[in-house]
């Protein structure tokens, strides 16, 4: 589904990704781990189409199509969803209005009929129920005054509503307490199926206790230095990144 080849990315003249190769198939869950500044979030945001990143080499193919020529909204309509590390507060725009507009943009692209307010609400309530979230969220302004946990839950709720082919979670576990982490993780687990690919970007292993990935990649200094099974994540949790960086020859601080 997603094929990244030798991807190089710069921001403000500084090279962050120095040749990433990554391939994810439908039904798979991949985790990207790595120390701070390794380029994890850059990869997530480049896939979503954030403008300030400059692709200087390589390619990103999504279902065989060049993703880099598509605007962010076109990528979303093709089925890419980014759960933000820092979800944006939008005062004055209710979550239901925001999400109904988003969903209908995507449905239109898929050749499906628009949902009216009634059908939208029914669907939203159904999703909220299965995610154990409070319906009141629908009437509140998007993320405004939300706690960190509420914001991340809202990201998962949006993901469930928009039903993407490729879901990217950017540090979705950061700033969550145990209960919120469980709700978020359960939500992601529910979305796991053979048609969907999920890319989990995280600094810590704890989210991966709930969402057990098929493959774990370690990103350091702008390169994937190791890939392995979920045990790799456990080892990183216990021993840190130091051994790996030595083993791979990427010296600490190689991100600079």
């Amino acid at each position: 589904m997603l094929n990244i080849k030798n991807l190089k990315v710069r921001i403000e003249g500084k090279e962050i990704l120095k040749g990433i190769d990554l391939s994810i198939e439908a039904g798979e869950v991949h985790a990207i781990m790595g120390p701070n500044g390794s380029g994890k979030s850059t990869l997530a945001n480049v896939l979503a189409g954030r403008a300030e990143y400059e692709i200087t080499g390589g390619e990103i193919l999504f279902e065989g199509k060049d993703l880099t020529v598509l605007a962010p909204e076109e990528r979303a309509r093709e089925g890419i969803f980014l759960a933000f590390q820092y979800p944006v507060e939008i005062p004055g725009v209710s979550t239901s209005y925001f999400l109904k507009t988003a969903l209908n943009s995507i449905r239109e692209h898929r050749g499906e009929v628009e949902l009216d307010a009634f059908d939208f609400l029914a669907l939203a309530k159904e999703k909220m129920k299965s995610l154990h979230m409070d319906e009141a969220l629908l009437h509140r302004s998007v993320n405004e005054g939300f706690s960190g946990g509420e914001k991340k839950k809202n990201e998962v709720f949006q993901m469930a509503m928009l039903d993407p082919k490729l879901a990217i979670l950017d540090e979705t576990d950061s700033g969550l307490d145990i209960d919120a982490l469980r709700i978020v993780a359960d939500g992601v687990q529910q979305l796991r199926d053979e048609k969907r690919a999920i890319l989990v970007v995280t600094h810590y292993q704890r989210l991966l206790d709930h969402i057990v990935p098929d493959v774990v990649h370690v990103l350091s200094g702008g390169r994937i230095v190791k890939s392995g099974d979920p045990d790799l994540a456990k080892k990183l949790e216990k021993e840190g990144y130091g051994w790996l960086l030595e083993e791979s020859g990427a010296v600490a601080g190689g991100g600079n």
Binding site: E73, A76, A102
Partner: protein, 450 residues
């Protein structure tokens, strides 16, 4: 300060002529009204059109007004588009609705429902001719003729408008609506609508003033409203400025509040090529509450200026001022928020905020609070912000599949919404929200006109 000294400007050649016509028409020989008009005549001739050398007009050049040979709007016959006017009406949702087309009451479009006992709602010209109660005591007594050329000119010419007089404890459930519609002809015309609102002790009412117009020819609306808000009374005042974008719109609102009264005013300004509103509220007693809200949208080459004064004369009063501006294209906005707290106005609470959204590089806003605080036990806060659409928010919308144009509309709508939701009348609130959306759909982002 030399800057604040009144510099005499030009007097438009037609002004005295228009006033002379008015003299023959209204109150000629009246022992109380003639002196008011004579005084106004002297004032506007002494002041002349303000120039940008006057501090209060530094950012708003009204010199173009002096170069146009305006004909008196009153009575100018032009084919009216009834449909367009009807869209602005409240019909049976209003207690009384007065519609003036080119300065003359249009009986067919106006309507009158049931009024509470003793409430008087009539054209001001009728009040001047037929009664003295209220009108003699207040007409021309509250408006700032000393320094405001336009208010003096309005008083000297004085076209028709709304007269509202509520006796003690009279409460109007439904709003009173007055619409001034200008339909242009080939020659530019000028009208001077005048309203007088008097709410006696313990009374309550909602008044909506609407200004609209159409046509390619420039015209000038020079409106003035005086409001007297008696002890313990409650008056809510909305003004919708929906003039043609070829028009000039100048207005003055002068309000005198007595103890324990509550006044709310709302300025909605979408139209006109140049719009200037002077709003002054005198809190002349104890424990008064006063709210001044505003929303202005400008695009293309529109220029919109609000000059507000909240004058705290009595103690223990609270005022809140909240203005928002959205500027696109090459539009210019000006906001001046003066808060005066007099020596005796202890325990004053005064809050002011002006937030602006610029949608293009060429749009600009001059915003300045002016605080003059002479009392020592006062809480006063003010803040002005100028911003652009949040790029991070736009990306968030787009990452969910929403078009950037739609995302901008939603963000601008949300920005305006914070003021729109303060409109307590559901029908008016819906209409203003719809106008904001229509404006956005019509390219408020200025891309078409920039």
């Amino acid at each position: 300060m030399a800057r604040t000294a009144v510099v005499k400007g030009k007097i438009p050649p037609w002004a005295s002529n228009h006033a002379e016509i008015s003299r023959r028409r209204l109150g000629n020989g009246s022992t109380w009204f003639d002196p008011v008009r004579e005084e106004a005549l002297r004032r506007f001739e002494a002041l002349g059109l303000p120039t940008t050398r006057r501090e209060e007009y530094r950012f708003t050049n009204l010199a173009p007004l002096g170069r146009v040979d305006f004909r008196r709007a009153e009575g100018v016959k032009a084919p009216i588009e009834t449909e367009r006017i009807e869209k602005l009406l409240f019909g049976d949702r209003a207690a009384v609705e007065l519609v003036f087309v080119n300065g003359v009451l249009d009986e067919a479009l106006s309507s009158r429902g049931d009024l509470a006992d003793g409430a008087v709602v009539m054209p001001l010209s009728t009040a001047i001719r037929e009664r003295r109660e209220g009108v003699e005591e207040h007409l021309g007594r509250h408006i700032g003729m000393e320094t405001n050329f336009f208010a003096a000119l309005n008083t000297a010419i004085l076209d028709d408008g709304l007269f509202l007089h509520l006796p003690d404890r009279c409460i109007l459930e439904k709003p009173v609506h007055v619409l001034f519609h200008t339909t242009t002809v080939d020659q530019p015309i000028a009208g001077h609508p005048r309203n007088l609102l008097i709410a006696n002790r313990g009374s309550a009412a909602v008044v909506i003033e609407s200004y609209a117009g159409e046509g390619e020819t420039p015209y000038w609306t020079n409106a003035a409203t005086e409001a007297v808000v008696g002890e313990g009374s409650r008056l809510t005042h909305y003004k919708q400025q929906l003039e043609s974008e070829n028009a000039f719109h100048i207005s003055a609102l002068d309000v005198t509040q007595s103890a324990s009264s509550r006044f709310v005013t709302f300025s909605i300004s979408f139209g006109a090529s140049i719009a200037r509103s002077d709003i002054r509220i005198d809190l002349d007693g104890e424990a008064i509450e006063s709210d001044m809200n505003g929303l202005f949208l400008a695009r293309g080459d529109q220029h919109v200026d609000h000059h507000t004064t909240m004058n705290h004369a009595g103690p223990r009063c609270e005022s809140r001022e909240f203005y928002k501006g959205i500027l696109a294209g090459r539009a210019k906005g000006v906001f001046t928020g003066r808060i005066v707290v007099c020596k005796d106005a202890q325990k004053t609470n005064a809050f002011q905020a002006n937030r602006n959204l610029l949608l293009s590089d060429d749009a600009a806003i001059h915003t300045q609070p002016q605080l003059e605080i002479l009392a020592d036990d006062v809480k006063c806060s003010h803040g002005a912000t100028v911003g652009r659409l949040d790029e991070e928010a736009l990306f968030y919308f787009r990452s969910r599949g929403i078009d950037p144009e739609e995302a901008e509309k939603m963000l601008i709508g949300a920005f305006a919404g914070e003021v729109v939701e303060k409109i307590d009348l559901p029908l008016l609130r819906e209409r203003v929200a719809a106008l904001v959306s229509a404006r956005l759909a019509g390219g408020a982002t200025g891309k078409e006109t920039a």
